[in-house]
């Protein structure tokens, strides 16, 4: 599988300890949810950030998507809490 640029925001970013990283998940990682499961194994920070999947939102190549969305040939995937602007 190709490299994916991961971007994180708000408390997801804080728990992981970085706002951005490049990852190369195995071919078995098909959806954003699979990716989150796989990333949660990388470090304690990732595990903490992804603890409660119901509180996570995602964007694939800057389009907001549900977590069960296939990754396809995504270049940038963002994981973040529900938005609170305005």
């Amino acid at each position: 599988m190709a490299k994916i640029r991961m971007v994180y925001f708000a408390w997801v970013r804080e728990r992981i300890g970085t706002g951005e990283e490049t990852v190369e998940p195995p071919a078995s990682v098909a959806t954003v949810a699979d990716l989150v499961d796989w990333l949660a194994e990388i470090s304690v920070g990732h595990a903490e950030a992804f603890e409660n999947r119901a509180r996570l939102r995602a964007a694939v190549d800057q389009e907001f998507v549900p977590l069960d969305t296939p990754i396809g040939r995504a270049q940038e995937i963002a994981i973040f809490p529900p938005v609170t602007g305005g």
């Binding site: 971007v7 925001f9 964007a59 963002a78 973040f80 529900p82 938005v83 609170t84 305005g86």
Partner: protein, 149 residues
């Protein structure tokens, strides 16, 4: 006319109103969100997703222009640190008649609240915490999807 801005600098209402009025139509409705000065927040900090934010705001504005035939839609949102009393967000809708302007203005702020990637962090005394999303915001945004809306 659509104008979108995600900015560090303060929001200049007079300048934005001039922009909204330049379309020559009869009715301008606006909404301004402020950092509340009355509930103990010392600093509010706004984080966003550069690139994706502007695209999301543009989509919200385009939706309003198409649905209400607006002659202008404006969304200005601050990012970075700000103080109580400062403006966080300003939206404006310009239309020939007031009904369209008022409804479109409500749509702009309702959709922005759920569709644009901003995150607020409040500092109260020495404690900083991320603001939780509110269910009521989703209800407000979703009412625009109902057929009777």
């Amino acid at each position: 006319m659509i104008h979108i801005s995600v900015q560090q600098s303060t929001i200049d209402i007079a300048a934005e109103m001039t922009r909204a009025e330049a379309a020559g139509a009869g009715a301008v409705a606006t909404f301004t969100g402020l950092v509340r000065a009355d509930d103990g927040v010392g600093t509010l900090e706004l984080e966003h997703y550069p690139g994706a934010t502007e695209a999301a705001l543009l989509k919200v504005a385009e939706g309003a222009v198409e649905r209400w035939g607006l002659s202008a839609a404006i969304i200005v949102h601050r990012v970075g640190p700000m103080q109580p009393g400062e403006r966080i967000v300003f939206v404006a809708a310009t239309a020939a008649h007031r009904g369209a302007a008022l409804e479109a203005c409500a749509y702009l702020i309702d959709r922005l609240k759920t569709d644009a990637p901003f995150w607020k962090r409040e500092t109260r005394g020495v404690t900083a915490s991320w603001v939780e999303a509110r269910d009521v915001d989703h209800a407000a945004a979703e009412r625009w999807d109902r057929p009777e809306a």
